[in-house]
Symmetry: D3
Subunit: 140 residues, 6 copies
């Protein structure tokens, strides 16, 4: 089996804030990230698929088809968006990168084309170069 990982990028704004906590608790918990007017990051998204190499093409998956799928379902929804207010899949949730990673994985799995022999293996998001979040299909 071979794992193929492809990188995508999106820039987005967010504010970390829980409706269930007081202002003081939010400030304590989220620090600068609780700033009411939001801030932003350039998110680097890695989508990993796993499968056998097709001898007739030498490939695990068509990168062009994967791009089209990830672009339509993820990048177009998140890029240059405010994750608190503009991404339906995150509605009512705190838009941490953990939550974004879970959500993106769910979005990718839910419509994964049945005729693709490669399966989704994992999602990794670099929120900044020092904060990396990963979630795997198997582990959940």
């Amino acid at each position: 089996m071979t794992r193929f990982t492809r990188r995508y990028r999106f820039a987005a704004a967010h504010r970390l804030h829980s409706e269930k906590l007081t202002a003081a608790e939010n400030a304590e918990l989220f620090g600068k990230c609780n700033n009411p007017y939001g801030h932003g990051h350039d998110y680097l998204l890695e989508v990993s698929v796993c499968g056998d190499v097709d001898p007739s093409t030498g490939r695990v998956i068509s990168p062009a088809q994967l791009d089209e799928y990830v672009k339509a379902r993820i990048v177009d929804q998140f890029d240059h968006r405010n994750m608190n207010t503009e991404v339906p899949a995150l509605a009512g949730r705190i838009p941490t990168t953990e939550v974004a990673a879970e959500t993106i994985e769910d979005l990718l799995i839910s419509d994964w084309p049945k005729d693709w022999s490669a399966r989704l293996d994992k999602i990794r998001i670099y929120e900044t170069k020092n904060n990396i979040f990963e979630t795997t299909h198997e582990a959940r």
Copy 2:
């Protein structure tokens, strides 16, 4: 003369929008960056100073003093802020990275300690890894 460059980082949100243009003109000019709810970036700021190496210390400037100065005047004002609404020095301006670079340079020059032998040489900001903005003291 030796040039010493030190890197700082701040995450911020912005929206590119001109009050003098129509909605259609803004959309045409700024594209996704005109999205009303904002988006964000991790800005990498390079501050370059120029001076002679002091033989008694082997240094052009004290990095600790430079850090304290840049942190107080720049990073604390911009980090985890919305540049449209929360950065006084940008009030009334379109918060492109060109404008942020000019503004940061002005903020650094205006109070540059008179007893520092090194002078500010230039400012460079990486908005993303593909968009780099630079402004020099001499050139203006």
Copy 3:
């Protein structure tokens, strides 16, 4: 157990083309990569070995011995080569990076020195910074 990963680099040219497909099918499948005159990449190869730390040396493997082995069997065969015509181990195969990864793993395993306590764990190749291919000894 500790995993030690060492990075190597090689520049190579390739053209993606299947003899079993028509010109139109090749163009559809491989896009720009089917360009008849070839193009190239700087491949970054990660070789990971796994083993116990030897208390008398503090090491899992001798980096110098690993370098010598990887250089002789891989880098010297691939670096500054055209993978369609000049790499015997790829003869008759489509030189995608998936195929190169499998081939490199096979080449490394087939002569792995019997007196090395560390075993080959996996191979990862960065074709470009956005396309990453990985294959593991166990998974196959």
Copy 4:
């Protein structure tokens, strides 16, 4: 004045070989790069423009217009091409990165839109992460 730099990428193959030299001289001069079947790189191109910030837009140049211009004149000509045989602007020249940089600069200057207030400042190409080539409009 503000300098704005934007990064573009293209993958290409080349072979370094001078028709005016003997086989032995070519091998001596170009080493592995003289390999007859070619090899390749992922070139990173930086295009820097210089100009005043337009107060009505906050920008030096429209990134979208610059992209369109650089894509049409440069990236479409070089990406996934063999620089020895497929790039008309390099015909008859040895496709080193020095020559590519000069050629790209000439291509950009020759049709630079007259109504752009920003001018081309310089071109920089990273052939690999360790080999960087730069050429400036003024210096020539």
Copy 5:
């Protein structure tokens, strides 16, 4: 389950030398790294934790608490230190990065706060950009 990885950095000096070997054996085994006066690296440490996302915070662990813990137990002990003479946890051991990785993992596990729901998953150290060492809690 989600894995969260956070990066830390420390600069340190070391000399690779085994008291059990002769001078010639040490030179043969460690090469330049046996140089008696030491040399140094900027180590990049990745600490990965694994756990469920807490729905009330959207997080696996508090980054601020993790930072405080890693800083006190690791960074403050290793940063700007000579690993042969100044790091008690390495006393009597050869300060290779394999040994440093095992030691750092042991230091982190031994006092891991019992009230944290996330557990330590693995440690990775980049000694240089080409030498990467990883050790996992499970594997040992």
Copy 6:
């Protein structure tokens, strides 16, 4: 004119300490870098040369000849060395990166081959990814 920059790397240890200052002054001035047992970095050295492109070779300078020159005069003297005690050119000086940059430039200029048409343009050293030092031939 074209500028060609080539990157080299060396790992070294140093301690920042001035014999002319008291222990307290040294601690105040150099902070952690005054630690008596030393620490280290992976230095990235950029050597930039400037010249015309030779039409018969397409090059500004022979990279192989430049490598040989920089390796013999610089890398072999600094790599895996303690800059306080093992680098003759730094004897009696505080081995800051400013001083190392000046020293390396002097070493390169002093024996620059007279038959090279390209001249040394500047030296840049990345001490860490956040601290960059540059010195130019002209500016001195």
